[in-house]
């Protein structure tokens, strides 16, 4: 187990990362595929739930995330995210964060409301491409976490919402790693947070 010296920046960060909703719930266990469950259905319901919650989280910081504060969607100086879709942005394009977010959320909403990709009728099978789409949605949602943590965490603190965001992230992280849904490479920007959160989980079981 790691130790952090009080007073250091890492310690402060550690303290913040530790805050999580004490729901008495082992998230690592909660994400596991229940006995006999269909993997596609399990992933689908999580994707929709994560979308709703992450959307909500971004909504709380959205008025401090402007074209001026974030002229390019990024996660710190090392990671820049470019938008690409089948419509206006055929080539990966650097966009201000608010624009990028709104395209991202709209795009996801279209996917999850598409009955051919996310069937809700009992018995309708998922398309073969479902897992691909789900992975793409999850890696894009992950970027929202990256941006919020790296650029807007002061706002999150100010709102007293660290515990909420951390819990959601922890849940998200366990989920995507359990089923290998996001490339290790994509997860890098938050690896620091991951270590902190992982330590927390060990130290405070449940």
């Amino acid at each position: 187990k790691r130790k952090f010296e009080p007073g250091t920046q890492r310690f402060e960060l550690h303290k913040k990362a530790q805050a999580s909703l004490n729901a008495g719930l082992d998230l690592k266990q909660a994400v596991q595929l229940p006995h006999g469950e269909d993997l596609n259905d399990w992933v689908a319901v999580h994707v929709v739930d994560f979308f709703n919650r992450i959307n909500l989280i971004y909504g709380t910081i959205s008025d401090s995330c402007t074209d001026q504060t974030c002229p390019v969607m990024s996660g710190g100086p090392r990671y820049e995210y470019r938008w690409q879709d089948e419509h206006k942005y055929k080539k990966p394009t650097a966009l201000p964060a608010p624009k990028y977010m709104s395209l991202l959320m709209d795009w996801i909403e279209v996917q999850i409301n598409n009955e051919h990709i996310f069937p809700t009728n009992i018995g309708t099978p998922f398309p073969k491409t479902f897992m691909q789409v789900a992975k793409k949605i999850l890696s894009r949602l992950f970027r929202v976490f990256v941006h919020v943590y790296i650029h807007h965490f002061d706002r999150v603190s100010h709102m007293g919402a660290e515990a909420h965001v951390n819990t959601c992230y922890k849940h998200f992280f366990y989920f995507v790693t359990e089923f290998n849904l996001i490339d290790q490479k994509e997860l890098e920007p938050l690896s620091q947070w991951f270590i902190l959160l992982a330590v927390t989980v060990e130290a405070v079981p449940g």
Binding site: V45, I57, H164
Partner: protein
């Protein structure tokens, strides 16, 4: 939970943002506490299946078949969780009841054809009347209470104007309507209804709830004529959100629509926000506290009404009724022109007495063993024929309900200008509930109903 770090410089936050933050935090908190329950419930269901199969001593082959059947039900539930339910998914057939904050309609789910009762509650009214705590309580108990004695709730959702509760439809109507039709009931029928209501009340007491507003309007009859409790609008749990002093200002707020005789006004009163004080125990009106025994008082009042034809404290005005309830020692009398048995009279007086001496303070067995209930088969009462059988012809038979005029509660508002109550919307947050059983048990509509419309 709130962290104080060096880096959090106070940023200006608009009211709008502040609200959004509140919503987000509440939603997340709710989500993660629900996640825990759902996780546990799912494990319970699996364990129960295994236990039942072991008890039945099933061969392995049969077991694995049952397991995959169970897994399929769980998968269906996951799908339905992703399905957004809204008003569009139901066709409204008829208004079958009215309450203070909205109405109850017979509806049919368009895709399955299943029939339900839909209770519609106007948000604006409820906020005005500070009913939020009550509706919370209603949701909590409907969701928690399981079993035969409580009206089942299957889904709930909301839109800008209303909350919607989709419940099982009880075609037998309510006890208030039955009593208005019949005037009085025989002692035998009274014994049956009171006995079933004893079990119903006890079942919610065992969950830690006090109903506090047991009255004939809230006793519904299922297709076989058996009793179920509905309306937990005022039901008070042990949670803080359930506590509101609804009747505190009763004496200062005479409703204007109250005059003439009791029977004529009975229905009016049922629709008013004041409610009828006829069935409420005296200690509930006092600020000194009360406990679950208050529900047994209400039962005594109902029993009196069943046998005598009107409740013991009924008067021209709620104020007068209230006064009579408080002075029950003088006002609780039995009219000589309506003779009832000594046992029945004794039973009523064991319910309608001061809380310290009231029956049921030990346990419910004290009530069950009262001579009035002699020969009641407590174990099987629900399976046996009811005192009065219910006659229903078709899936949408509402002959046991009075007629209500169509209302505009479902009319979409033209040009929705964000009304005032919108800013308080978070109170209704997470008002979305889907019941595992209701979603996956396809047999919820009794066969006699299917025959009518196919």
């Amino acid at each position: 939970m709130a962290m104080t770090g060096g880096m959090a410089a106070p940023l200006p936050m608009s009211n709008h943002t502040r609200e959004r933050v509140t919503v987000a935090k509440l939603t997340l908190e709710h989500f993660y506490s629900t996640l825990l329950t759902q996780h546990e419930e799912r494990e319970m269901r699996q364990k129960k299946l295994e236990k039942v199969m072991d008890e039945e001593g099933l061969p392995d082959e049969e077991k694995s078949m049952r397991r995959s059947l169970h897994a399929r039900k769980e998968t269906e539930f996951l799908r339905l969780k992703r399905t957004r339910l809204g008003l569009d998914d139901f066709e409204s057939l008829k208004v079958i009841g009215r309450g203070a904050f909205g109405e109850v309609r017979l509806v049919q789910k368009k895709d399955t054809g299943h029939i339900y009762a839909m209770k519609i509650l106007r948000k604006a009214d409820m906020l005005e009347k500070e009913q939020v705590a009550h509706i919370r309580a209603e949701r909590d108990i409907l969701v928690e209470a399981d079993g035969a004695w409580v009206v089942k709730m299957f889904y709930s959702f909301q839109d800008k104007r209303n909350l919607y509760l989709i419940m099982e439809f009880l075609p037998g109507g309510d006890m208030m309507t039955l009593l208005m039709k019949k005037d009085t009931l025989s002692e035998e029928a009274t014994q049956f209804y009171i006995a079933e209501t004893v079990l119903a009340i006890d079942s919610i007491h065992q969950l830690g709830f006090i109903h506090r507003d047991i009255k004939p309007d809230n006793l519904l009859l299922d297709s076989r004529g058996h009793v179920k409790l509905s309306d937990f609008g005022l039901c008070t749990g042990l949670k803080k959100a359930h506590r509101t002093e609804f009747y505190r200002n009763l004496t200062h707020n005479p409703p204007s629509d109250f005059s003439e005789t009791w029977k004529k006004n009975r229905r009016q009163l049922a629709y008013s926000t004041v409610g009828t004080p006829d069935y409420i125990a005296p200690e509930v009106f006092l600020q000194t506290g009360y406990n679950k025994l208050c529900d047994w008082w209400s039962l005594g009042v109902i029993m009196y009404e069943m046998l005598i034809g009107y409740p013991p404290f009924c008067s021209e005005t709620p104020q007068e009724t209230y006064r009579k309830v408080m002075n029950w020692r003088e006002t609780l009398t039995f009219p000589p022109e309506v003779p009832i048995s000594e046992r029945a009279k004794e039973m009523i007086l064991r319910y309608c007495t001061d809380a310290e001496n009231r029956i049921g303070s030990g346990s419910v067995d004290e009530i069950k063993s009262n001579p009035f209930f002699e020969s009641v088969d407590w174990e099987h009462i629900r399976e046996r024929p009811a005192a009065i059988s219910i006659d229903i012809k078709s899936i949408d038979d509402t002959s046991n309900f009075d007629d209500f005029p169509e209302s505009d509660i479902l009319q979409p508002v033209a040009n929705v200008t964000e009304p005032d109550f919108k800013s308080k919307d978070w109170v209704f947050l997470n008002y979305t509930y889907k019941r595992f059983e209701g979603l996956t048990q396809r047999g919820t509509i009794p066969t006699y109903m299917k025959a009518g419309k196919a």
